[in-house]
């Protein structure tokens, strides 16, 4: 939790910067505590304790700008650092577009840090012995036997809990804070078949609340996923209907968000340049930013400039509704500023009603009848200027809505705009702990390369 002393430190730092002749300053305090217990094959393998605290300084001086950070926050070390930082900021070239955001854009409702509803006091009460118990609870080793013909070779598990505090203040009266706890489980298993071929599987769960997590399910699901990969040769290349599991579907949204960011748009390094207000994607594609849903992991009331976030559409019915423009990029582009980036993205189900609606993965597979469902990506990239992409995938062939066999060693290749024009459907099954709430998706006519 942010304390009076934290605020005093940040105010003191701002005063030090202004004393160096700065016109304005913004200072952010980031602090976190994390405790972690890792297991290997059902035994404790590692315990770690992490305590971090640092200050990030944005200095506006003589029409120039610089950004700095330090974790040495004792007064004498900080004063010396601020002096050097101010000197370096003065050495930059002048840029009149560097300035603090206008007062009316700044968040005024993140006062205690608890507004987003993401703090659970139970985190402070977790004991070392409980952490060990939690980590062991997630393990499948010794509890879930591998199916016949498979051997469980290795299992690595992890439990961690953490508390993260953020305080941002500027020389024009901004004061915002945010506190968030996190409880996380993750398990990765490696199995081998009778021929010695190895397969791995991973499962995780996470929440800002200690209660309601499926620890035991992590090891079991990781084992199931690894064993399901057995004997997974590539299919012949061709065009297939592609379903993408919700767990990994965010990978196909990230390039869109990057392309809508001012840093890409202003440099002409965006395949969505000039797309604002245009219908670029399929009718059913609606993507929202919902940073103000209280209690939803990842919610936050302000961005890194202290600008108030808002629940808004990013893409609605295939039409681009929003660019992400911070104060500087908006100035450069001669446009109205928005927020620096998307905070908590949610894709709406499609179709939203009627017989074609598929609420979950199984229903979506039935609706699509046959194709390939992607359950994980293996590398790849998307060219930000053109939207051309190519990703390695693994997943399953499905026919008549039922999984037939695993596939591996294949690639999907295409262009982001065209892919999203071929968007068929979105289920409604995104787990709230996903960083992006993207449900299971379906696309038509995707190029798969394989055997």
């Amino acid at each position: 939790m942010i304390t009076k002393e934290d605020k005093a430190l940040v105010r003191q730092c701002i005063a030090m910067i202004l004393a160096q002749g700065a016109d304005a300053a913004r200072v952010t305090l980031n602090r976190s505590v994390e405790e972690l217990v890792a297991t290997l094959n059902g035994e404790v393998d590692k315990v770690t304790r992490c305590e971090d605290s640092s200050l990030a300084l944005d200095i506006f001086i003589d029409g120039r700008f610089g950004s700095f950070s330090t974790n040495r926050t004792q007064a004498d070390a900080l004063e010396s650092f601020v002096r050097k930082a101010a000197d370096m900021a003065r050495a930059m070239e002048p840029d009149p577009l560097r300035k603090l955001p206008a007062a009316e854009r700044k968040a005024a409702d993140a006062v205690t840090g608890l507004e987003a509803g993401l703090y659970d006091a139970a985190q402070e009460a977790v004991t070392p012995a409980q952490r060990v118990q939690n980590a062991l609870k997630a393990a499948a080793w010794g509890k879930c036997p591998a199916p016949e013909g498979m051997v469980l070779l290795s299992e690595e598990g992890e439990y961690s809990d953490s508390c993260n505090d953020n305080l941002i203040m500027d020389s024009e009266g901004l004061e915002c804070c945010h506190t968030e706890t996190s409880f996380d489980y993750g398990v990765e298993v490696t199995v081998a078949d009778a021929q010695g071929r190895k397969y791995s599987g991973y499962a995780w769960d996470s929440s800002s609340r200690a209660e309601g997590l499926d620890a035991e399910g992590c090891g079991r699901r990781a084992l199931e996923r690894a064993c399901a990969r057995r004997d997974s040769p590539a299919l012949p290349g061709g065009q297939y209907t592609m379903v993408v599991d919700s767990e990994v579907a965010g990978k196909l949204v990230t390039p869109l968000l990057n392309a809508l960011n001012g840093y890409s748009l202003q440099q002409g390094n965006s395949f969505l340049d000039g797309s604002l207000g245009q219908k670029i994607f399929a009718d059913g594609m609606t993507l929202l930013d919902i940073p103000r849903t209280k209690g939803l992991q990842g919610a936050k009331y302000y961005d890194s400039e202290g600008v108030a976030t808002a629940d808004k559409p990013i893409i609605e019915g295939g039409v681009v509704k929003q660019y992400f423009l911070n104060t500087y990029m908006a100035g450069k582009m001669g446009m109205a500023p928005t927020v620096e980036s998307a905070t908590k993205v949610k894709m709406m189900p499609w179709p939203r009603s009627g017989p074609e609606q598929a609420r979950d993965r199984a229903a979506l597979l039935r609706r699509c009848r046959s194709g390939i469902i992607v359950t994980d990506f293996n590398g790849g990239n998307c060219n930000p200027a053109t939207g051309d992409f190519s990703y390695g995938i693994e997943g399953f062939l499905f026919e008549d809505g039922v999984l037939v066999r695993p596939v591996d060693g294949m690639l999907i290749t295409g262009n982001m705009k065209i892919l999203w024009q071929h968007f068929l459907a979105a289920a409604d099954d995104a787990r709230p702990c996903l960083s992006k709430l993207i449900p299971t998706l379906a696309f038509s006519s995707v190029d798969f390369s394989g055997e």
């Binding site: 605290s53 490696t190 990969r229 440099q267 390094n269 053109t386």
Partner: protein, 471 residues
Amino acid sequence: MKLKTNGFGVSLEDLQALVAEGLSGGGDWCDLFFEYSAYTSLMLRDGIVSSGGCHEDYGCGIRVLNGEKTGYAYAESTDMRALRKAARSAASIASGGSVKACGTPHSVECPHNLYPARRDWREVESAAIISTLQRIESEIRRRESRTLKVMATFSCDMSEVLMFNSLGELTQDLRPMGSLAVTAIFSNGKKVINNNASRSYRAGAEMLGDSVVNALVEEVVRGIDEAFEARRPRGGKMSVVMGAGASGILLHEAMGHAFEADFNRKGQSVFSERMGQKICRSGISIVDDGCLPGNRGACNFDDEGVPGQKTYMVTDGVLTSFLHDRISAKFYGVAPTGNGRRESFRYNPIPRMRATYMENGSDGSVEDLIASVKKGIYVDRFSNGQVKIGEGDFTFFVKSGRLIENGRLTAPVSDINIIGNGPRALADIRAVASDLTIDEGQWTCGKEQSAPVSCGIPSVLVEHLTVGGGQ
């Protein structure tokens, strides 16, 4: 005895006391990793350098080992109260057993300084760097009239490290790193493309000369005509000729990670049971080398205080060594190979690559390799890669290349992923040229933590890789 403990404000007695605290639970190893790093960056965008800054990070990581189990904690100060608290947290990995004593402190000298910065980054004026960035932009615009935008970034890091362990070994290192990276956007009125290039060295400001500027500019403007024409190939399995240098990403992803001993110790790697076996054709040797002077992957010492060394992983086609930290070396009963590396004092060390490359072969030139392929692809620029350790399935993303048709380079291609399987790809290397090049780009490996690495390779011909493309 007087040993320097650098500028961290701790005495030898303090170091011994902290190790004693770490071993107090019955652990059998304790080490301390003090680090002060100062990172500076400057960015040119739209013709001006109007953003930049400095970031400093200071603290000490304390690790206690109990067999192969690890206790780890750190403090962001060198105040003894904070350090003792961290040592007690790390000590909790052990409970019971005899308490070991700390060895007598003694300094371990660096046999050869692999990165003697002749000009300390801390003494370089921003104006000199700004002028270098501006020169890069003006040269690119002079060379290529279709230039739309240029973004050029400079960064440097000076990291002071002091390590002490329960054997009493005291090790110090001063690690410079300087990097320049350029992204340029070009337009021919119909199509927009981007191109990038970077250079990174464990060196001081002496690297900021004409040669690095010229090399970057040359790489950024090279192949622009082809890039405007580039198209996707028809995807599928084919022969791939990988050009010398950056194609070393093949070794890093397809083999290097699977040779890291933590994955093998835990039975996860596809190579776990293959030590001493022939895994590719004779004549192929694959090395991980921490001793290339000024190289981004060079290590006077690794982050466990083990001197930098050159490790043959594959010798004449036979798997001869994994890459070890102290934990895995003890497990396998071998000497550490100097691969125990970490991102910063916030992380415990784990086996990591340094500069990974294949030694020269004797199958002629890259032209000979291309001439031997009826239908395939030649690739020479990459952006990123990934591997699944257990399965051995790897990918890397190709920024540019050309089709090979009947032994000749034809249409340019770009933005394709290539996928393969490590052991199979190794076995499918059909020819190795004699043009070994170590790439000098800003490669960073992301295995749990970030670590600067480099890679290299002579031109090689690999059969049966799956290339992404249209259908």
